[in-house]
């Protein structure tokens, strides 16, 4: 028997949900609107919401002042590169944890997660020295390496919880049919795990895109991603709200759009094994 829902109740829920949704979204909307104002209008009192002279001058100025495309390109390479490499390393690990568990599997998993708890500032100088000695400062390679390592625990864990839900019988059957381990992973497991892998990929791209400590501290000109781009607008001289808003919009828009378009995939695997 389906539950009956009165229209008025549905309307009430809709209104409440939209109100809360808009409140949560508001800071982003406000930033977006401010990016089209002049600096004067951005700090007008009382504030104006829509009735201002829409202008693109902030975007033009930000574009002229910074190599947006270079930073954007770096962000893409770093976030996707580190996630893809992370997946390649993590899939076998997650496979073996999920299908050939040993007594220590859980401890290994928890230990991996605990490496994420090290405060990065504490190890900046050692890492900086290591990077200097190996010529990795201000290189995309260096950042991809660091971000792969930072997100590896999360990748392994997400995949592990996802793989665990795949019934072992199917793999068993494939093995009976004479599939090699490689084929088993490539042709049986991976297709079934696509939603989990997709969502792992998305979550980690987002995390890597937004990582602001290592990306800012290990780069200078060549490999600096969008986090460094933002740091040049954070508190310049004079009125800066509109330009800051434009730069912020440019920094977050790509990942926001990506996230919105792929939110179904993101959500589907984002359960960390908590949903049975």
């Amino acid at each position: 028997m389906a539950r009956r829902v009165t229209t008025s109740r549905k309307a009430l829920v809709t209104v409440a949900a939209f109100a809360i949704g808009l409140i949560i979204f508001f800071p982003i909307l406000w930033t977006f609107l401010t990016s089209f104002k002049t600096e004067g209008e951005a700090v007008a009192s009382p504030p104006v919401f829509l009735a201002f002279h829409w202008t693109l001058e902030n975007y033009a100025e930000v574009n002229q002042r910074s190599h947006y495309l270079l930073h954007f390109y770096n962000s893409v390479v770093i976030s996707f590169g580190s996630t893809l490499i992370g997946l390649v390393i993590a899939i076998p690990a997650a496979w073996s944890m999920a299908f050939v568990p040993s007594r220590r599997t859980k401890d290994v998993l928890m230990w991996m997660l605990s490496t994420k708890m090290l405060p990065p500032v504490g190890v900046l100088i050692p890492i900086y020295l290591l990077f200097r000695n190996s010529g990795l400062l201000d290189t995309l390679t260096g950042l991809v390496v660091v971000l792969t390592l930072i997100n590896l625990p999360i990748i392994v864990w997400m995949l592990y919880t996802y793989f665990k839900e795949i019934p072992g019988d199917i793999l068993e059957a494939a093995r009976m049919d004479g599939a090699s381990l490689r084929n088993e992973i490539l042709y049986v497991l991976t297709p079934m795990a696509v939603p989990g892998i997709a969502s792992t990929l998305l979550l980690n791209v987002i995390l890597a895109w937004n990582e602001a400590f290592w990306t800012l501290n290990l780069t200078a000109a060549k490999a600096a991603p969008l986090t460094a781009f933002i740091a040049s607008y954070s508190s310049p001289e004079g009125l800066f709200y509109a330009k800051l808003s434009a730069a912020s919009t440019m920094a977050i828009a790509p990942i926001l759009v990506l996230g919105w378009f792929s939110q179904k995939q993101l959500v589907r695997g984002l359960t960390f094994g908590a949903v049975k």
Partner: protein, 441 residues
């Protein structure tokens, strides 16, 4: 929206960008780290001139907010990371880094660059053991900026060298909180280069000093008590809300919007507050020296310069020197003047600029020069001190200590601590850090 179209264009455009970069291998590329201050951003807009004169040198910019920049260049130079060929550093770093041998001497810049034209107090601050280690891009002191219209309305006249008593009186007269006008705006954001630059300079005008000759901190002296009490009382009575998070930029924004009656801050702010494009009060700004206490012959003004320096160990010394020579030359000043007007020329570095009759017409030129010349880094206080520096103490430990002290003063301004608590906490934390650093043997 621009970024969506970028999104679609990304791959083609970004890869062509890289091909272009790879194709230009024959030229020398230098990486210049700089702060996101207005004058530096203007310089980036004028690079066409440099590129035309030196087509073989390509300049990559790393523009960052001051604190982030300082942290990055310091880490890099101290670990010999070699990421930058030219660094923008201040007068605090130059003597310390020069002494460590971390900087390339600039004594061999060509005669046309005219080292003797540099303003003496600025040049002295950049010279270590007789060698010049950095070229000043712009220099600044601090001064009182005020709203002449509001002063007139209040029936007051700003003297050339106001006292703190007068500042208090004027602040009271100009404050009109219901109209959103606050009599005085001062830095409150914690940081050695933020509130501590102002308060340390201010303390000099009350006869205080950071350390005695044995490096004992002096926050328990009556001079410091008076400094902090005056600062807090001005700000609590006549300052804007949220002052404890206001730094230079926040105050500039406030002043430009007409929300401040007076603002005592960097002389470079003058060109921003008189710029009609960004400042609502451009026509009404007056200038005076930084205040002093009746009977004490030190004004509360500092001395600072943003300079360009070359880290030792870079492979591009020649190209870096070429760039620095261009950016700090007399011709660069003329270039800016021709494009943006004399008021926007980077100030405070060259005597010739202040002898230029066209520049003399700029309303803040005289006060800026007078302020810079009155600052004496070797004798910052009327008392004897073991250190160099007006609004800082040129020892490596100072940044950390002063930022922590700045936190205490910022807390006192926010009202979460009393003035006495802030001073005694500052006294003990400074003593602690100096002990740790081994100053008391």
């Amino acid at each position: 929206m621009r970024s969506t179209s970028h999104f679609a264009l990304c791959c083609t455009a970004a890869s062509s960008l890289f091909i272009a970069a790879a194709g230009a291998q024959a030229e020398t590329t230098i990486t210049v780290a700089t702060v996101n201050n207005g004058d530096m951003i203007r310089m980036q807009g004028l690079m066409g001139d440099f590129n035309a004169k030196h087509p073989d040198i390509k300049v990559n910019w790393v523009t960052l907010e001051e604190n982030v920049l300082r942290q990055k260049v310091t880490t890099d130079i101290a670990t010999k990371g070699g990421q930058y060929d030219v660094m923008t550093i201040g007068t605090y770093e130059v003597p310390i880094w020069g002494k460590q041998g971390w900087l390339v001497s600039l004594d061999d810049l060509p005669a046309s660059w005219d080292v003797n034209d540099l303003l003496p107090p600025i040049r002295d601050g950049l010279t270590v053991d007789g060698k010049l280690y950095a070229a000043p891009f712009y220099g600044e002191s601090s001064m009182t900026m005020y709203r002449a219209d509001l002063m007139k309305k209040a029936g007051l006249k700003m003297p050339n060298a106001p006292t703190w008593e007068f500042i208090e009186k004027a602040a009271r007269a100009m404050t009109n909180k219901s109209a959103g006008v606050y009599g005085i705006c001062l830095r409150g954001k914690a940081g050695w280069g933020e509130n501590m630059a102002f308060i340390t300079a201010m303390s000099n005008s009350f006869g205080a000093r950071w350390f005695d000759m044995k490096w004992n901190p002096q926050f328990d002296t009556p001079q410091w008590k008076e400094t902090l009490a005056t600062y807090l009382s001005l700000m609590h009575k006549y300052g804007p809300p949220g002052a404890s998070s206001n730094g230079f930029n926040e105050n500039l924004a406030l002043f430009q919007q007409g929300k401040c009656g007076m603002w005592i801050d960097a002389t470079v702010a003058a060109s921003f507050v008189t710029d009609p494009k960004n400042s609502k009060v451009a026509k009404h700004v007056g200038f005076a020296l930084a205040p002093h206490k009746e009977g004490i012959k030190k004004n509360g003004n500092w001395l600072w310069a943003w300079t360009l320096a070359i880290p030792a160990g870079t492979k591009q010394v020649a190209a870096a020197k070429t760039f620095i020579e261009w950016a700090t030359s007399k011709d660069y000043l003329k270039l800016v003047a021709s494009k943006e007007g004399w008021a926007n020329v980077p100030p405070g570095t060259r005597t010739s600029l202040y002898k230029n009759p066209q520049y003399a017409k700029v309303p803040f030129a005289r006060i800026t020069l007078e302020s810079i010349e009155s600052a004496d880094p070797t004798h910052p206080s009327v008392q004897e001190v073991p250190y160099v520096g007006v609004q800082f103490v040129a020892i490596p430990e100072f940044q950390g200590i002063a930022t922590a002290v700045g936190q205490q003063f910022s807390a006192a301004l926010a009202g979460t601590e009393s003035a006495d608590q802030a001073l005694s906490a500052s006294q003990s934390l400074t003593k602690r850090e100096m002990t740790k650093a081994g100053y008391y043997k």
